[in-house]
Amino acid sequence: MVARRKAASGRKPSAVRVHPYQVGFGDCFLVEFVYAKSSKFILIDFGSTSAPRGAKPNFLDNVAADIAATCGGSLEAVVATHRHADHISGFTTGDGTASGDIIRSLNPKLVIQPWTEDPALGARAITAATSDAHKAFVNRLSDIHEVADAVVHEAGQLTALGLKTNGQELRFLGETNIANASAEKNLRTMAPKTRYVRYGDKSGLEALLPGVHVTVLGPPTIEQLAAVKDHRSDETNNFWSFRASLARNLTGARGFEPLYPNAPQLGAENAPPWARWLIPKLQRARADELKGLVRSMDKELNNTSVILLFEIGDVGLLFPGDAQVESWAYALRKESVRKRLASVELYKVGHHGSLSATPKSLWNLFANRSTAPGDRRLRSVMSTLPNRHGAKRTGNEVPRLALLKALQHDSELTSTHLLPSGKPIKPIEVKT
């Protein structure tokens, strides 16, 4: 592998420029590989669930137009790390001028998505080559959308009942997880080739980016993840049936029909005095339960993120999407991977700077961490918006302050939340 990397180095790019876009709470990175004659571009994620301050409702269309202009009307590839709205909503199509239409018109030659998006694994697909475990996992991801949809409805009810804060937080989490059929279809069909990748797969990017070696470090497969967690198959089946029942159940409750509509009831609105004190307590308990569930589902989808390591000579650039520590666990077990991660010079901070998406054992591997400015000092780039996810009081604020401190101390950080909105962000250049 080392030999191959050297052989390709003759026509390798001289630099890589990462163009971060201000999308509020979301990710959008245009990555430019600078070659002697011209540059080649790939787009990694394009989505937002919360607009930056002062942005117009169609701000994503403007971002798409800027991408089109910067890349000169042509993209080599699009990477949609995972299916969360804050990573793919920009791919939504419309009347031909929407952000997703614009990206489509850039004619990417390749789209990369995680293996969990493979239509061959869909609920109705029957493919002998795919294992039941994988199909079940993908169905479970569909369940997540249904649950999210139901949660958004139920959040509305909780808000109406006076639980405003809980309702708002639930709605935000729920909306991030709701399916986006238009963006998903666009991603499936916008390029002549689509690759659904897992740990260890070839990305297909090398053919498009001469001199660049690309390694897929995630997401792991079910079997790979099981090797980390020592799951037993019967357990995972129970786990899936639990998820499925959750989805059915919450979806069934969408209309908030009582389980026994014909049984004798007392009006909850005019409850007798002995029941009045318990009702708001139970509603709060319900909201807490939903939050716990939606958070765990949210994490599940994050863990389907494609993790890409780009290597040009000895320089590494790492784009892990929103992968969490559970997904990282598999790659980080490999000594060979750990060695190569040491050479990372640009790190796209995982999951908008949340507490569990930059595993400490990964961070500690980066040999270019330094407190002193310098050419080879680690560059980190983060796209985030505070006060959308979690809270300081519960120790799960995004971005996590302890991580932010480390990023500022030991790397040269560019973060969208620290820059004025509405102004273009200077690209980050890494010489190779």
Binding site: L161, R248, L259, Q265, G267, G292, S296, S356, A406
Partner: protein
């Protein structure tokens, strides 16, 4: 003496999936008398049927107050369909099972028991929300039972499962008895709350003869529906093998129990019944996770159960060569389960109030049993308990007893009883504290620590000679707050990576058991200044994120159960 008044109420014996001759297996069970309002709403339990998902308040069930109106069992003649479709029957189910669980605890401990909150009444919500979870929540003074729809759209209710109701009410009772056990401590303590509730639930169900008969039928014919009354009354003597009882009988029931509820109840019975005795689990990182670890304790309990049952069956005698009488076998099984249930509940009084380990549980079990049956005649039972735990590599915490292996001991020296009035000590926390203060050096209390009495509990039980014995159980805790940098002064290791200025609270505590003459008979102490144990504990808590901001000072059973259902794994040391 006035006879205890009881109501007879119909319940679903285990859950709607256990059927005999195609019908849901039911039991008509005695429930301690309570002058109920509609709910049922009694002295200690209030069923309040609000569904937060659909914002519905179901009308309460009236079973007659038993004073002005005759007590009634409204569902004695109901069809299966009526039982399943009536929310008011579900109110009856949770009321009856919870009341029986409470009564079972009170009978075993010989006193009235407090809940872990101020109100005298635990609230039960049998259709609390549309979600596959059920949990006790101290902050709501309630047990909330969720429901969900299965693949066929049929409602599955956690409140209809006997074991789930008994499990949750056991959490509530344990919290009332030992509030400190929900605090973050060691992996053993995290596992204990869950394992204890599992064991009470399992043995409460096994104590019903109907269930044991169904279990035997399942194991021998595979299908309950084939075995009618009067048929198939003999069992081959192969059942005398404890491994058969475990691998066939227990497992048959575990498999039959509503699989749809496995996300709620976990699979303690199935998993623990199939867990072969091993001493290697301590080296397996999987068993550092509380739910998995709890299965070890449940497995020790089931292992004890099958060994005791098998021993008892060997004395039963064959009705035909090679065959035993099925109903006698079932009767014996239910009796063994009931007796084990008593021991498990009684052992709570013999536990330290903080930092419970599995070894403490074993010493507590042995001591509580010895106190009930001190003679040599019942020693073989304790030998079986010792063996069942030893097979899983668990040794008693107490090593110094000169009475019998593993029993707790008294204090090292004679305490100073001067100016301490035993008659007052039996109920008064100030007097209990006076005793503690006077004897602080002899009892090995940490100096400079904040010390408080957790509870003073009079305890009445029948002695071997038939006389009633009045003992007193006093629990105390000690705590000290310091910064991580100061740990070294106490020879306690600061966890790797913990900042110097991190505030740390160390806990210790003990249980004092006084006999009827006021002599301190047992002293069970987890020392606050035990450097090795505190160092290990702090490192563990640091690793699992117990010092993260926002982490609750005590575990939430809701989150514990949800995590069990969705098999959440955390890599706490990797987090920021």
């Amino acid at each position: 003496m006035t006879a205890q008044r009881r109501r007879l109420l119909t319940i679903i014996a285990q859950d709607p999936s256990i059927r005999v001759n195609g019908r849901i297996l039911r039991a008509i069970v005695p429930v301690p008398f309570d002058a109920t309002e509609p709910g049922p709403w009694g002295e200690r339990i209030h069923v309040l049927d609000y569904d937060a998902t659909s914002n519905t308040l179901y009308a309460p069930l009236d079973i007659g107050d038993g004073v002005n109106e005759s007590p009634v069992d409204p569902y004695i003649d109901a069809t299966d369909a009526e039982l399943l479709a009536s929310p008011q029957f579900h109110q009856q189910q949770v009321y009856a099972v919870a009341s029986r669980t409470l009564a079972r605890f009170e009978a075993a401990l010989g006193r009235r028991l407090p809940w872990g909150f101020d109100s005298p009444q635990l609230k039960l919500c049998p259709h609390a929300f549309a979600e596959p979870n059920a949990f006790y929540a101290r902050e709501h003074e309630a047990v909330l039972f969720g429901y969900f729809r299965n693949g066929q759209g049929r409602a599955v209710l956690s409140s209809l499962a006997h074991d789930v109701v008994a499990h949750e009410v056991s959490h509530a009772l344990l919290d009332g008895l030992r509030p400190g056990l929900l605090a973050p401590s060691s992996p053993d303590q995290g596992a204990f709350h869950e394992a204890f509730a599992d064991l009470v639930a399992i043995f409460s169900v096994f104590a019903l003869q109907e269930i044991v008969e169904a279990m035997l039928t399942l194991a021998t014919t595979k299908k309950v529906s084939r075995a009618g009354k009067g048929k198939n009354r003999l069992l081959s003597n192969e059942i005398l093998d404890p491994d058969w009882l475990r691998n066939s009988a227990l497992l048959a029931l575990a498999k039959e129990m509503g699989q749809e509820l496995s996300g709620i109840r976990g699979e303690a019975l199935r998993r623990s019944a199939t867990l072969e005795p091993t001493k290697k689990w301590r080296d397996d990182p999987d068993f550092s996770e509380p739910h998995r670890r709890g299965e070890i304790l449940v497995a020790c309990g089931l292992h004890t159960f099958t060994l005791l049952w098998s021993n008892r069956l060997k004395t039963l005698g064959e009705v035909q060569p090679g065959f035993l009488d099925r109903s006698r076998v079932a009767e014996d099984g239910a009796a063994v389960a009931d007796s084990l249930l008593t021991s498990i509940i009684r052992c709570i009084d013999y536990l330290p109030p903080v930092h419970v380990g599995f070894s403490d549980v074993l010493s507590a079990l042995l001591t509580s049993h010895y106190e009930l049956f001190p003679g040599e005649q019942m020693r073989p039972v304790r030998d079986i308990v010792r063996k069942a735990f030893a097979d899983f590599g668990i040794k008693p915490a107490s090593t110094k007893s000169n009475v019998e292996d593993g029993l707790w001991c008294g204090p090292n020296d004679k305490p100073d009883y001067r100016e301490v009035h035993f008659s007052v000590l039996q109920y008064d926390e100030t007097e209990a504290f006076r005793f503690l203060w006077r004897n602080r050096d002899m009892l090995g209390l940490a100096k400079g620590a904040f010390t408080r009495i957790e509870s003073v509990r009079p305890c009445l039980r029948r002695g071997e000679d038939g006389f009633m014995l009045r003992e007193t159980v006093i629990g105390f805790t000690q705590q000290i707050k310091l910064e991580a940098r100061e740990l070294a002064q106490l020879s306690i290791a600061k966890p790797t990576g913990m900042p110097d200025e991190m505030p740390v609270t160390l806990f210790g505590g003990g249980t004092l058991i006084f006999d009827e003459r006021g002599e301190l008979k047992y002293y069970i102490h987890n020392r606050l200044l035990s450097a090795n144990r505190q160092s290990e504990r702090l490192q563990y808590l640091w690793n699992v994120g117990a010092f993260d901001p926002g982490v609750r000072a005590r575990s939430s059973i809701a989150a514990m159960h949800r995590d069990r259902a969705i098999d959440r794994s955390e890599f706490q040391t990797e987090r920021w």
